[in-house]
């Protein structure tokens, strides 16, 4: 595979314009760019932050593996993902996925596919910090996220 996914796990926020530029600048074969960004929600002001824990090494490896499947399956020209860890407040970015391709559907599918697998297959966990100042619970895995994987069964 000649196209390498660009995958980063980091504490800092990301710059979507800059990340798009890395995948498009100096080339004229990209016709479609889809970005997904996932933000921390405040859950009606009950949440003060989410704390994201990850398994270093395995997190990168799993996302790269899934991203490579996406490149192959949808004929992507490029794919990037940035997943943040640490304490993230409502309104802040958690995750970014970008897929590029000649035509639009491949980019939509590539980004959607990577997000669905990231939700349930990348070793990240979220703990809630409550607006009351208390530590909340660890976020439970959702059946809906497992179900979302079915749409990619061939």
């Amino acid at each position: 595979m000649s196209i390498k996914p660009d995958i980063r796990i980091q504490q800092e926020d990301f710059d979507i314009n800059a990340e798009i530029k890395k995948l498009t600048q100096g080339r004229t074969d990209v016709g479609a760019v889809v970005t997904f960004s996932g933000l921390c929600r405040g859950e009606g002001d009950t949440l003060s932050a989410l704390e994201l824990e990850h398994y270093p090494g395995m997190a990168e490896a799993e996302i790269i593996r899934i991203a490579e499947q996406g490149i192959e399956r949808f004929g992507l020209l490029g794919i990037s993902a940035i997943h943040r860890y640490g304490k993230i407040e409502p309104g802040e970015n958690i995750v970014l996925v970008i897929a590029t391709s000649p035509h639009r559907q491949a980019s939509f599918d590539g980004a959607n596919f990577l997000m669905d697998f990231l939700k349930t297959r990348a070793p990240f966990w979220k703990k809630e910090h409550l607006a009351t100042g208390k530590e909340g619970d660890w976020v439970d895995a959702k059946d809906a996220d497992d179900d979302a994987l079915h749409k990619w069964e061939e």
């Binding site: 398994y55 395995m58 490896a61 997943h83 995750v95 979220k126 895995a141």
Partner: protein
């Protein structure tokens, strides 16, 4: 056999540690055996093992679906709740 055990999220909190180096008993050949042995390690381990059906495992950073999987000469075994990325 010495293996590094790594814990995440509420397992880490309940066990009170993120990792440990352990000499596994010779009887521990599979992930399921490992969980049986965990149940003998005291109250906190026993309590966590009540959720053993949903607990996830990675052997040397490779996700393992079947708890009957052999541990073999693994260097690192990670144990964690279902993942909630994204």
């Amino acid at each position: 056999m010495t293996v590094k055990l790594v814990y995440f999220a509420w397992l880490r909190e309940r066990f009170g540690m993120g990792e440990e180096q352990i000499d596994l008993p010779v009887t521990v050949k599979t992930i399921s055996d490992l969980f049986d042995w965990f149940e003998t390690r005291g109250e906190e381990f026993e309590a966590v093992m009540e959720h053993r059906k949903i607990i996830q495992v990675a052997i040397d950073q490779e996700h393992v679906q079947d708890q009957a999987t052999l541990i073999g000469d693994a260097k690192e075994i990670a144990i964690f709740p279902p993942m909630t990325g994204g």
